[in-house]
Symmetry: C2
Amino acid sequence: MSRHKKSMGSTPGGHDAKKELFDGFASVAKVMSSGRRAEIVDVLAQGERPVDEISREIRQSIANTSQHLQLLLRAGLVKSRRDGTRIYYSLSGPAVIRLWAAVRDVAVEHLAELDDLATSYLGDRSSLTTMTRDELRERIGDGDLMLIDVRPEAEFRAGHIAGAASVTIKELETRLDQLPNDRLIVAYCRGPYCVYADNAVRILTRHGMKAARLEEGFPEWKEAGLPVEASNTNASGA
Amino acid sequence: MSRHKKSMGSTPGGHDAKKELFDGFASVAKVMSSGRRAEIVDVLAQGERPVDEISREIRQSIANTSQHLQLLLRAGLVKSRRDGTRIYYSLSGPAVIRLWAAVRDVAVEHLAELDDLATSYLGDRSSLTTMTRDELRERIGDGDLMLIDVRPEAEFRAGHIAGAASVTIKELETRLDQLPNDRLIVAYCRGPYCVYADNAVRILTRHGMKAARLEEGFPEWKEAGLPVEASNTNASGA
DNA sequence: GGCATATTCAAGTAGATGCTTGAATTTTGT
DNA sequence: ACAAAATTCAAGCATCTACTTGAATATGCC
Protein backbone atom coordinates (compact mmCIF):
# COMPACT_ATOMS: atom_id res chain seq x y z
CA MET A 1 0.00 0.00 0.00
CA SER A 2 1.88 2.99 -1.25
CA ARG A 3 1.56 4.50 -4.70
CA HIS A 4 -1.46 5.67 -6.64
CA LYS A 5 -0.73 7.83 -9.59
CA LYS A 6 -3.68 7.73 -11.90
CA SER A 7 -7.14 6.38 -11.36
CA MET A 8 -7.63 2.77 -10.28
CA GLY A 9 -8.05 -0.76 -11.54
CA SER A 10 -9.05 -1.35 -15.13
CA THR A 11 -12.71 -2.03 -14.80
CA PRO A 12 -14.24 -4.36 -12.25
CA GLY A 13 -13.37 -5.40 -8.70
CA GLY A 14 -11.94 -2.26 -7.22
CA HIS A 15 -8.57 -1.09 -5.83
CA ASP A 16 -5.40 -2.47 -7.32
CA ALA A 17 -6.67 -5.95 -7.83
CA LYS A 18 -4.82 -6.27 -11.10
CA LYS A 19 -1.55 -5.36 -9.48
CA GLU A 20 -2.12 -7.91 -6.77
CA LEU A 21 -3.05 -10.63 -9.22
CA PHE A 22 0.06 -10.10 -11.29
CA ASP A 23 2.16 -9.90 -8.16
CA GLY A 24 0.74 -13.32 -7.41
CA PHE A 25 1.88 -14.67 -10.75
CA ALA A 26 5.23 -13.01 -10.27
CA SER A 27 5.69 -14.67 -6.90
CA VAL A 28 5.94 -17.98 -8.73
CA ALA A 29 8.73 -16.64 -10.92
CA LYS A 30 10.38 -14.98 -7.96
CA VAL A 31 10.88 -18.28 -6.25
CA MET A 32 12.68 -19.58 -9.34
CA SER A 33 14.82 -16.47 -9.48
CA SER A 34 17.60 -17.87 -7.35
CA GLY A 35 20.21 -20.12 -8.90
CA ARG A 36 20.26 -22.24 -5.74
CA ARG A 37 16.51 -22.78 -5.88
CA ALA A 38 16.79 -23.61 -9.55
CA GLU A 39 19.33 -26.28 -8.63
CA ILE A 40 16.92 -27.62 -6.05
CA VAL A 41 14.11 -27.85 -8.58
CA ASP A 42 16.46 -29.57 -11.01
CA VAL A 43 17.30 -32.18 -8.38
CA LEU A 44 13.75 -32.65 -7.17
CA ALA A 45 12.65 -33.20 -10.77
CA GLN A 46 14.36 -36.58 -10.38
CA GLY A 47 12.29 -37.54 -7.35
CA GLU A 48 11.87 -36.71 -3.68
CA ARG A 49 14.87 -36.07 -1.45
CA PRO A 50 15.49 -35.22 2.21
CA VAL A 51 16.89 -31.83 3.19
CA ASP A 52 20.41 -32.90 4.00
CA GLU A 53 20.87 -34.63 0.65
CA ILE A 54 19.59 -31.59 -1.20
CA SER A 55 21.91 -29.42 0.85
CA ARG A 56 24.87 -31.54 -0.21
CA GLU A 57 23.70 -31.52 -3.81
CA ILE A 58 23.60 -27.74 -4.05
CA ARG A 59 26.62 -27.29 -1.77
CA GLN A 60 24.94 -24.98 0.71
CA SER A 61 24.52 -25.08 4.46
CA ILE A 62 21.59 -27.04 5.78
CA ALA A 63 20.00 -23.96 7.31
CA ASN A 64 20.20 -22.07 4.05
CA THR A 65 18.87 -25.03 2.08
CA SER A 66 15.99 -25.32 4.51
CA GLN A 67 15.09 -21.68 4.01
CA HIS A 68 15.12 -22.08 0.26
CA LEU A 69 12.84 -25.07 0.63
CA GLN A 70 10.47 -23.08 2.83
CA LEU A 71 10.20 -20.47 0.11
CA LEU A 72 9.55 -23.09 -2.55
CA LEU A 73 6.96 -24.62 -0.27
CA ARG A 74 5.14 -21.35 0.38
CA ALA A 75 5.07 -20.63 -3.33
CA GLY A 76 3.54 -24.05 -3.93
CA LEU A 77 6.34 -25.40 -6.13
CA VAL A 78 7.22 -28.26 -3.78
CA LYS A 79 5.50 -30.36 -1.16
CA SER A 80 6.97 -32.13 1.83
CA ARG A 81 6.30 -35.28 3.77
CA ARG A 82 7.76 -36.46 7.02
CA ASP A 83 9.17 -39.96 7.43
CA GLY A 84 10.60 -40.45 10.89
CA THR A 85 13.17 -37.82 11.59
CA ARG A 86 13.61 -36.92 7.93
CA ILE A 87 11.50 -34.59 5.81
CA TYR A 88 11.30 -35.43 2.14
CA TYR A 89 10.64 -32.73 -0.43
CA SER A 90 9.33 -33.23 -3.94
CA LEU A 91 7.90 -31.13 -6.74
CA SER A 92 4.21 -30.46 -6.31
CA GLY A 93 3.29 -31.43 -9.86
CA PRO A 94 4.27 -31.69 -13.50
CA ALA A 95 3.49 -28.03 -14.14
CA VAL A 96 6.62 -27.19 -12.17
CA ILE A 97 8.73 -29.33 -14.49
CA ARG A 98 7.22 -27.53 -17.46
CA LEU A 99 8.01 -24.20 -15.84
CA TRP A 100 11.61 -25.18 -15.24
CA ALA A 101 11.90 -26.36 -18.85
CA ALA A 102 10.41 -23.10 -20.09
CA VAL A 103 12.93 -21.09 -18.09
CA ARG A 104 15.83 -23.04 -19.58
CA ASP A 105 14.39 -22.71 -23.07
CA VAL A 106 14.16 -18.96 -22.85
CA ALA A 107 17.65 -18.75 -21.40
CA VAL A 108 19.11 -20.89 -24.18
CA GLU A 109 17.30 -19.08 -26.94
CA HIS A 110 17.61 -15.52 -25.84
CA LEU A 111 20.32 -15.09 -23.23
CA ALA A 112 23.55 -14.34 -25.08
CA GLU A 113 25.94 -15.23 -22.30
CA LEU A 114 24.40 -18.61 -21.58
CA ASP A 115 26.43 -20.51 -24.13
CA ASP A 116 29.62 -19.48 -22.39
CA LEU A 117 28.30 -20.43 -18.98
CA ALA A 118 27.17 -23.80 -20.28
CA THR A 119 30.45 -24.48 -22.01
CA SER A 120 32.44 -23.61 -18.93
CA TYR A 121 30.35 -26.00 -16.85
CA LEU A 122 29.88 -28.83 -19.33
CA GLY A 123 32.97 -28.47 -21.47
CA ASP A 124 33.04 -28.69 -25.22
CA ARG A 125 30.04 -30.63 -26.43
CA SER A 126 30.72 -30.41 -30.13
CA SER A 127 32.29 -33.86 -30.31
CA LEU A 128 29.48 -35.61 -28.42
CA THR A 129 27.03 -37.68 -30.41
CA THR A 130 23.50 -36.92 -29.29
CA MET A 131 20.12 -38.52 -29.72
CA THR A 132 16.71 -36.91 -29.52
CA ARG A 133 13.84 -38.18 -27.45
CA ASP A 134 11.90 -39.22 -30.54
CA GLU A 135 14.82 -41.10 -32.01
CA LEU A 136 15.36 -43.02 -28.79
CA ARG A 137 11.68 -43.81 -28.51
CA GLU A 138 11.73 -45.41 -31.94
CA ARG A 139 14.96 -47.35 -31.59
CA ILE A 140 14.66 -48.37 -27.96
CA GLY A 141 13.30 -51.81 -28.71
CA ASP A 142 15.57 -52.58 -31.63
CA GLY A 143 18.18 -54.55 -29.74
CA ASP A 144 21.11 -52.77 -31.38
CA LEU A 145 21.11 -50.20 -28.61
CA MET A 146 21.72 -50.24 -24.88
CA LEU A 147 20.34 -47.54 -22.62
CA ILE A 148 22.17 -46.62 -19.41
CA ASP A 149 21.08 -44.30 -16.61
CA VAL A 150 24.15 -42.56 -15.21
CA ARG A 151 22.49 -40.68 -12.36
CA PRO A 152 23.11 -41.59 -8.71
CA GLU A 153 21.52 -44.91 -7.94
CA ALA A 154 18.91 -43.43 -5.60
CA GLU A 155 17.46 -41.44 -8.46
CA PHE A 156 17.44 -44.46 -10.72
CA ARG A 157 15.50 -46.37 -8.08
CA ALA A 158 12.99 -43.52 -7.71
CA GLY A 159 12.19 -43.78 -11.42
CA HIS A 160 13.93 -44.30 -14.75
CA ILE A 161 13.27 -44.79 -18.44
CA ALA A 162 11.77 -48.19 -19.06
CA GLY A 163 14.47 -50.61 -20.14
CA ALA A 164 17.42 -48.60 -18.84
CA ALA A 165 20.17 -50.10 -16.72
CA SER A 166 21.77 -48.20 -13.85
CA VAL A 167 25.47 -47.48 -14.33
CA THR A 168 26.68 -44.53 -12.31
CA ILE A 169 29.75 -42.65 -13.56
CA LYS A 170 31.65 -43.79 -10.49
CA GLU A 171 31.12 -47.42 -11.48
CA LEU A 172 31.46 -46.85 -15.20
CA GLU A 173 35.20 -47.33 -15.62
CA THR A 174 35.18 -50.54 -13.60
CA ARG A 175 32.19 -52.00 -15.40
CA LEU A 176 33.27 -51.37 -18.96
CA ASP A 177 33.60 -55.10 -19.61
CA GLN A 178 29.91 -55.57 -18.83
CA LEU A 179 28.93 -53.18 -21.59
CA PRO A 180 28.49 -54.26 -25.20
CA ASN A 181 31.18 -53.44 -27.74
CA ASP A 182 29.03 -53.95 -30.79
CA ARG A 183 25.97 -51.94 -29.82
CA LEU A 184 25.39 -48.20 -29.44
CA ILE A 185 25.29 -47.19 -25.79
CA VAL A 186 22.96 -44.30 -25.04
CA ALA A 187 23.47 -42.49 -21.73
CA TYR A 188 21.07 -40.10 -20.04
CA CYS A 189 20.88 -38.31 -16.71
CA ARG A 190 19.00 -35.41 -15.12
CA GLY A 191 18.40 -33.10 -18.00
CA PRO A 192 20.00 -31.24 -20.88
CA TYR A 193 22.45 -29.45 -18.57
CA CYS A 194 23.55 -32.42 -16.50
CA VAL A 195 27.22 -33.39 -16.76
CA TYR A 196 26.94 -37.08 -15.96
CA ALA A 197 25.84 -38.26 -19.39
CA ASP A 198 28.42 -36.07 -21.12
CA ASN A 199 31.18 -37.59 -19.04
CA ALA A 200 29.88 -41.09 -19.59
CA VAL A 201 29.90 -40.65 -23.35
CA ARG A 202 33.42 -39.22 -23.23
CA ILE A 203 34.68 -42.15 -21.20
CA LEU A 204 33.00 -44.71 -23.43
CA THR A 205 34.22 -43.24 -26.71
CA ARG A 206 37.72 -42.92 -25.26
CA HIS A 207 37.59 -46.68 -24.77
CA GLY A 208 36.61 -47.23 -28.36
CA MET A 209 32.93 -47.89 -27.76
CA LYS A 210 30.04 -46.36 -29.66
CA ALA A 211 28.16 -43.98 -27.35
CA ALA A 212 25.67 -41.12 -27.52
CA ARG A 213 23.87 -38.98 -24.99
CA LEU A 214 20.15 -38.43 -24.86
CA GLU A 215 19.66 -34.70 -25.34
CA GLU A 216 17.24 -34.39 -22.49
CA GLY A 217 16.91 -36.24 -19.18
CA PHE A 218 14.57 -38.40 -17.20
CA PRO A 219 12.12 -35.66 -16.13
CA GLU A 220 11.48 -34.58 -19.72
CA TRP A 221 10.98 -38.19 -20.80
CA LYS A 222 8.48 -38.79 -18.03
CA GLU A 223 6.74 -35.47 -18.62
CA ALA A 224 6.25 -36.43 -22.26
CA GLY A 225 4.28 -39.45 -21.11
CA LEU A 226 6.82 -41.97 -22.35
CA PRO A 227 7.27 -45.32 -20.56
CA VAL A 228 9.02 -45.22 -17.19
CA GLU A 229 9.51 -47.73 -14.41
CA ALA A 230 10.72 -47.67 -10.83
CA SER A 231 12.55 -50.06 -8.53
CA ASN A 232 10.58 -48.90 -5.55
CA THR A 233 12.66 -50.08 -2.66
CA ASN A 234 12.16 -46.80 -0.88
CA ALA A 235 12.00 -43.55 -2.81
CA SER A 236 15.46 -42.26 -2.01
CA GLY A 237 18.27 -44.47 -0.74
CA ALA A 238 21.10 -43.57 1.59
CA MET B 1 33.08 -14.13 -4.67
CA SER B 2 32.41 -14.93 -1.07
CA ARG B 3 31.49 -18.35 0.25
CA HIS B 4 33.22 -21.70 -0.10
CA LYS B 5 32.28 -24.30 2.44
CA LYS B 6 33.07 -27.67 1.02
CA SER B 7 35.16 -28.61 -1.99
CA MET B 8 34.36 -27.23 -5.42
CA GLY B 9 32.37 -27.80 -8.59
CA SER B 10 30.85 -31.18 -9.32
CA THR B 11 33.18 -32.67 -11.85
CA PRO B 12 34.47 -30.88 -14.91
CA GLY B 13 35.22 -27.27 -15.82
CA GLY B 14 36.54 -25.87 -12.61
CA HIS B 15 35.48 -23.30 -10.02
CA ASP B 16 31.78 -22.75 -9.46
CA ALA B 17 30.73 -23.14 -13.04
CA LYS B 18 27.56 -24.96 -12.03
CA LYS B 19 26.56 -22.15 -9.73
CA GLU B 20 27.11 -19.62 -12.48
CA LEU B 21 25.18 -21.64 -15.05
CA PHE B 22 22.17 -21.98 -12.78
CA ASP B 23 22.42 -18.32 -11.83
CA GLY B 24 22.14 -17.72 -15.56
CA PHE B 25 18.94 -19.74 -15.78
CA ALA B 26 17.65 -18.01 -12.67
CA SER B 27 18.26 -14.59 -14.20
CA VAL B 28 15.51 -15.37 -16.70
CA ALA B 29 13.08 -16.14 -13.90
CA LYS B 30 14.26 -13.14 -11.93
CA VAL B 31 13.19 -10.80 -14.67
CA MET B 32 9.68 -12.29 -14.53
CA SER B 33 9.62 -11.97 -10.76
CA SER B 34 8.09 -8.52 -10.72
CA GLY B 35 4.35 -8.11 -11.11
CA ARG B 36 4.90 -5.01 -13.19
CA ARG B 37 7.20 -6.81 -15.60
CA ALA B 38 4.70 -9.66 -15.80
CA GLU B 39 2.08 -7.10 -16.84
CA ILE B 40 4.46 -5.82 -19.48
CA VAL B 41 5.01 -9.31 -20.87
CA ASP B 42 1.27 -9.88 -20.88
CA VAL B 43 0.75 -6.73 -22.91
CA LEU B 44 3.65 -7.34 -25.28
CA ALA B 45 2.30 -10.81 -25.97
CA GLN B 46 -0.38 -8.99 -27.99
CA GLY B 47 2.18 -7.26 -30.19
CA GLU B 48 4.78 -4.50 -30.07
CA ARG B 49 4.14 -1.26 -28.19
CA PRO B 50 6.01 1.99 -27.52
CA VAL B 51 7.20 2.83 -24.02
CA ASP B 52 4.61 5.46 -23.18
CA GLU B 53 1.72 3.17 -24.07
CA ILE B 54 3.15 0.38 -21.97
CA SER B 55 3.63 2.83 -19.13
CA ARG B 56 -0.03 3.80 -19.29
CA GLU B 57 -1.06 0.15 -19.52
CA ILE B 58 0.73 -0.84 -16.33
CA ARG B 59 0.00 2.47 -14.62
CA GLN B 60 3.59 3.31 -13.77
CA SER B 61 5.78 6.31 -14.44
CA ILE B 62 7.56 6.39 -17.77
CA ALA B 63 10.97 6.30 -16.11
CA ASN B 64 10.07 3.25 -14.08
CA THR B 65 8.55 1.52 -17.09
CA SER B 66 11.68 2.24 -19.07
CA GLN B 67 13.85 0.67 -16.40
CA HIS B 68 11.71 -2.44 -16.34
CA LEU B 69 12.01 -2.64 -20.10
CA GLN B 70 15.78 -2.32 -19.86
CA LEU B 71 15.85 -5.27 -17.51
CA LEU B 72 13.66 -7.34 -19.81
CA LEU B 73 15.92 -6.34 -22.69
CA ARG B 74 19.13 -7.32 -20.91
CA ALA B 75 17.62 -10.67 -19.98
CA GLY B 76 16.71 -11.25 -23.60
CA LEU B 77 12.96 -11.49 -23.08
CA VAL B 78 12.14 -8.52 -25.28
CA LYS B 79 13.67 -6.71 -28.21
CA SER B 80 13.31 -3.10 -29.26
CA ARG B 81 13.25 -1.17 -32.48
CA ARG B 82 13.34 2.54 -33.06
CA ASP B 83 10.84 4.26 -35.34
CA GLY B 84 11.36 8.00 -35.38
CA THR B 85 11.19 9.33 -31.89
CA ARG B 86 9.45 6.27 -30.51
CA ILE B 87 10.97 2.98 -29.40
CA TYR B 88 8.81 -0.08 -29.86
CA TYR B 89 9.27 -3.10 -27.63
CA SER B 90 8.13 -6.64 -28.40
CA LEU B 91 8.72 -10.13 -27.07
CA SER B 92 11.87 -11.69 -28.45
CA GLY B 93 10.19 -14.96 -29.39
CA PRO B 94 7.50 -17.54 -28.73
CA ALA B 95 9.52 -19.18 -25.95
CA VAL B 96 8.73 -16.14 -23.82
CA ILE B 97 5.02 -16.67 -24.32
CA ARG B 98 5.43 -20.28 -23.26
CA LEU B 99 7.34 -19.16 -20.19
CA TRP B 100 4.64 -16.71 -19.22
CA ALA B 101 1.99 -19.40 -19.71
CA ALA B 102 4.01 -21.83 -17.59
CA VAL B 103 4.25 -19.29 -14.78
CA ARG B 104 0.49 -18.75 -14.79
CA ASP B 105 -0.16 -22.49 -14.91
CA VAL B 106 1.95 -23.17 -11.85
CA ALA B 107 0.35 -20.27 -10.01
CA VAL B 108 -3.15 -21.49 -10.81
CA GLU B 109 -2.43 -25.08 -9.95
CA HIS B 110 -0.34 -24.70 -6.86
CA LEU B 111 -0.69 -21.25 -5.35
CA ALA B 112 -3.53 -21.39 -2.86
CA GLU B 113 -4.22 -17.68 -2.65
CA LEU B 114 -4.41 -17.15 -6.39
CA ASP B 115 -8.08 -17.96 -6.69
CA ASP B 116 -8.93 -15.13 -4.34
CA LEU B 117 -6.72 -12.68 -6.17
CA ALA B 118 -8.22 -13.68 -9.50
CA THR B 119 -11.76 -13.41 -8.19
CA SER B 120 -11.15 -10.00 -6.73
CA TYR B 121 -9.78 -8.78 -10.05
CA LEU B 122 -12.09 -10.57 -12.45
CA GLY B 123 -15.18 -10.93 -10.34
CA ASP B 124 -17.28 -14.08 -10.08
CA ARG B 125 -16.73 -16.15 -13.16
CA SER B 126 -19.00 -19.02 -12.24
CA SER B 127 -21.89 -17.73 -14.34
CA LEU B 128 -19.81 -17.15 -17.47
CA THR B 129 -20.13 -19.64 -20.28
CA THR B 130 -16.69 -20.56 -21.59
CA MET B 131 -15.34 -22.25 -24.66
CA THR B 132 -12.04 -24.06 -25.08
CA ARG B 133 -9.59 -23.45 -27.86
CA ASP B 134 -10.33 -26.83 -29.46
CA GLU B 135 -14.07 -26.28 -29.37
CA LEU B 136 -13.73 -22.91 -31.03
CA ARG B 137 -11.39 -24.30 -33.65
CA GLU B 138 -13.99 -26.90 -34.62
CA ARG B 139 -17.01 -24.65 -34.64
CA ILE B 140 -15.43 -21.49 -36.02
CA GLY B 141 -16.56 -22.14 -39.59
CA ASP B 142 -20.03 -23.37 -38.75
CA GLY B 143 -21.86 -20.10 -39.25
CA ASP B 144 -23.88 -20.43 -36.07
CA LEU B 145 -21.21 -18.56 -34.18
CA MET B 146 -19.74 -15.07 -34.27
CA LEU B 147 -16.27 -14.34 -32.92
CA ILE B 148 -15.45 -10.90 -31.53
CA ASP B 149 -12.11 -9.50 -30.41
CA VAL B 150 -12.68 -7.16 -27.48
CA ARG B 151 -9.13 -5.91 -27.04
CA PRO B 152 -8.14 -2.32 -27.88
CA GLU B 153 -8.25 -1.80 -31.59
CA ALA B 154 -4.47 -1.37 -31.92
CA GLU B 155 -3.97 -4.90 -30.69
CA PHE B 156 -6.60 -6.23 -33.04
CA ARG B 157 -4.81 -4.58 -35.93
CA ALA B 158 -1.46 -6.03 -34.86
CA GLY B 159 -2.94 -9.52 -35.10
CA HIS B 160 -6.12 -11.42 -34.31
CA ILE B 161 -7.80 -14.78 -34.67
CA ALA B 162 -8.75 -15.39 -38.29
CA GLY B 163 -12.38 -14.51 -38.82
CA ALA B 164 -12.80 -12.35 -35.72
CA ALA B 165 -14.38 -8.90 -35.78
CA SER B 166 -13.09 -6.05 -33.63
CA VAL B 167 -15.58 -4.80 -31.07
CA THR B 168 -13.93 -3.05 -28.15
CA ILE B 169 -15.81 -2.98 -24.86
CA LYS B 170 -16.15 0.76 -25.13
CA GLU B 171 -18.06 0.37 -28.39
CA LEU B 172 -19.92 -2.74 -27.34
CA GLU B 173 -23.01 -1.19 -25.75
CA THR B 174 -23.53 1.16 -28.71
CA ARG B 175 -23.07 -1.56 -31.30
CA LEU B 176 -25.35 -4.19 -29.83
CA ASP B 177 -27.75 -3.86 -32.76
CA GLN B 178 -25.00 -4.90 -35.15
CA LEU B 179 -24.55 -8.20 -33.34
CA PRO B 180 -26.63 -11.27 -34.13
CA ASN B 181 -29.42 -12.28 -31.78
CA ASP B 182 -29.73 -15.83 -33.01
CA ARG B 183 -26.09 -16.89 -32.98
CA LEU B 184 -23.66 -17.56 -30.17
CA ILE B 185 -21.21 -14.70 -29.73
CA VAL B 186 -17.76 -15.76 -28.57
CA ALA B 187 -15.52 -13.06 -27.11
CA TYR B 188 -11.80 -13.25 -26.50
CA CYS B 189 -9.07 -10.86 -25.42
CA ARG B 190 -5.51 -10.98 -24.11
CA GLY B 191 -5.42 -14.17 -22.15
CA PRO B 192 -7.13 -16.21 -19.45
CA TYR B 193 -6.79 -13.40 -16.90
CA CYS B 194 -7.94 -10.54 -19.07
CA VAL B 195 -11.13 -8.77 -17.96
CA TYR B 196 -12.34 -7.50 -21.32
CA ALA B 197 -13.92 -10.72 -22.53
CA ASP B 198 -15.53 -11.37 -19.16
CA ASN B 199 -17.15 -7.96 -19.24
CA ALA B 200 -18.25 -8.37 -22.82
CA VAL B 201 -19.98 -11.65 -22.04
CA ARG B 202 -21.68 -10.11 -19.02
CA ILE B 203 -22.97 -7.21 -21.06
CA LEU B 204 -24.18 -9.42 -23.88
CA THR B 205 -26.00 -11.88 -21.66
CA ARG B 206 -27.55 -9.03 -19.72
CA HIS B 207 -29.06 -7.94 -23.02
CA GLY B 208 -30.48 -11.37 -23.64
CA MET B 209 -27.94 -12.52 -26.15
CA LYS B 210 -26.10 -15.83 -26.16
CA ALA B 211 -22.45 -15.25 -25.36
CA ALA B 212 -19.37 -17.16 -24.22
CA ARG B 213 -15.76 -16.31 -23.61
CA LEU B 214 -12.80 -18.13 -25.08
CA GLU B 215 -10.88 -19.50 -22.10
CA GLU B 216 -7.56 -18.30 -23.40
CA GLY B 217 -6.55 -15.30 -25.46
CA PHE B 218 -4.94 -14.34 -28.72
CA PRO B 219 -1.31 -15.15 -27.78
CA GLU B 220 -2.16 -18.72 -26.83
CA TRP B 221 -4.14 -19.19 -30.04
CA LYS B 222 -1.27 -17.93 -32.12
CA GLU B 223 1.29 -19.92 -30.14
CA ALA B 224 -0.72 -23.08 -30.84
CA GLY B 225 -0.22 -22.46 -34.55
CA LEU B 226 -3.88 -21.80 -35.24
CA PRO B 227 -4.92 -19.41 -38.02
CA VAL B 228 -4.38 -15.72 -37.38
CA GLU B 229 -4.53 -12.64 -39.54
CA ALA B 230 -3.52 -8.98 -39.23
CA SER B 231 -4.79 -5.67 -40.56
CA ASN B 232 -1.30 -4.33 -40.90
CA THR B 233 -1.88 -0.66 -41.13
CA ASN B 234 0.96 -0.03 -38.75
CA ALA B 235 1.67 -2.38 -35.90
CA SER B 236 0.32 -0.24 -33.09
CA GLY B 237 -2.09 2.62 -33.66
CA ALA B 238 -2.40 5.83 -31.69
C1' DG C 1 19.97 26.10 -35.40
C1' DG C 2 16.31 25.59 -31.90
C1' DC C 3 12.19 23.71 -29.80
C1' DA C 4 9.18 19.70 -28.77
C1' DT C 5 8.57 14.83 -27.96
C1' DA C 6 10.02 10.26 -26.44
C1' DT C 7 13.11 7.80 -23.95
C1' DT C 8 17.04 6.83 -21.10
C1' DC C 9 20.31 7.75 -17.42
C1' DA C 10 21.75 8.88 -12.56
C1' DA C 11 21.24 9.45 -7.74
C1' DG C 12 18.71 8.64 -3.57
C1' DT C 13 15.82 5.96 -0.29
C1' DA C 14 12.87 2.40 1.91
C1' DG C 15 12.43 -2.22 1.91
C1' DA C 16 13.50 -7.06 0.54
C1' DT C 17 16.95 -11.07 -0.11
C1' DG C 18 20.73 -14.58 0.70
C1' DC C 19 23.72 -16.21 3.62
C1' DT C 20 25.60 -16.92 8.34
C1' DT C 21 25.51 -18.49 13.25
C1' DG C 22 23.36 -20.40 17.18
C1' DA C 23 19.31 -21.83 19.55
C1' DA C 24 14.69 -24.28 19.42
C1' DT C 25 11.74 -28.18 17.84
C1' DT C 26 10.42 -32.84 16.59
C1' DT C 27 11.07 -37.72 16.23
C1' DT C 28 13.68 -42.10 17.24
C1' DG C 29 16.12 -45.40 20.08
C1' DT C 30 17.34 -46.79 24.62
C1' DA D 1 12.51 -39.51 30.40
C1' DC D 2 17.19 -38.61 27.85
C1' DA D 3 20.48 -38.20 24.36
C1' DA D 4 21.08 -38.11 19.26
C1' DA D 5 19.79 -36.82 14.59
C1' DA D 6 17.28 -33.96 11.25
C1' DT D 7 15.20 -29.88 10.46
C1' DT D 8 13.40 -25.34 11.37
C1' DC D 9 13.40 -20.80 13.50
C1' DA D 10 15.40 -16.18 14.70
C1' DA D 11 18.61 -12.50 14.51
C1' DG D 12 22.11 -10.01 12.04
C1' DC D 13 24.66 -8.14 8.11
C1' DA D 14 25.86 -6.95 3.35
C1' DT D 15 23.80 -6.60 -0.86
C1' DC D 16 20.26 -5.84 -4.17
C1' DT D 17 15.56 -3.99 -5.89
C1' DA D 18 11.64 -0.87 -7.05
C1' DC D 19 10.27 3.35 -7.19
C1' DT D 20 10.96 8.54 -7.23
C1' DT D 21 12.74 12.93 -9.08
C1' DG D 22 15.39 15.61 -12.14
C1' DA D 23 18.73 15.95 -15.71
C1' DA D 24 20.68 14.16 -20.21
C1' DT D 25 20.14 12.24 -24.99
C1' DA D 26 18.24 11.47 -29.41
C1' DT D 27 15.05 12.25 -33.21
C1' DG D 28 11.81 15.06 -35.96
C1' DC D 29 9.85 19.38 -37.37
C1' DC D 30 10.02 24.26 -38.28
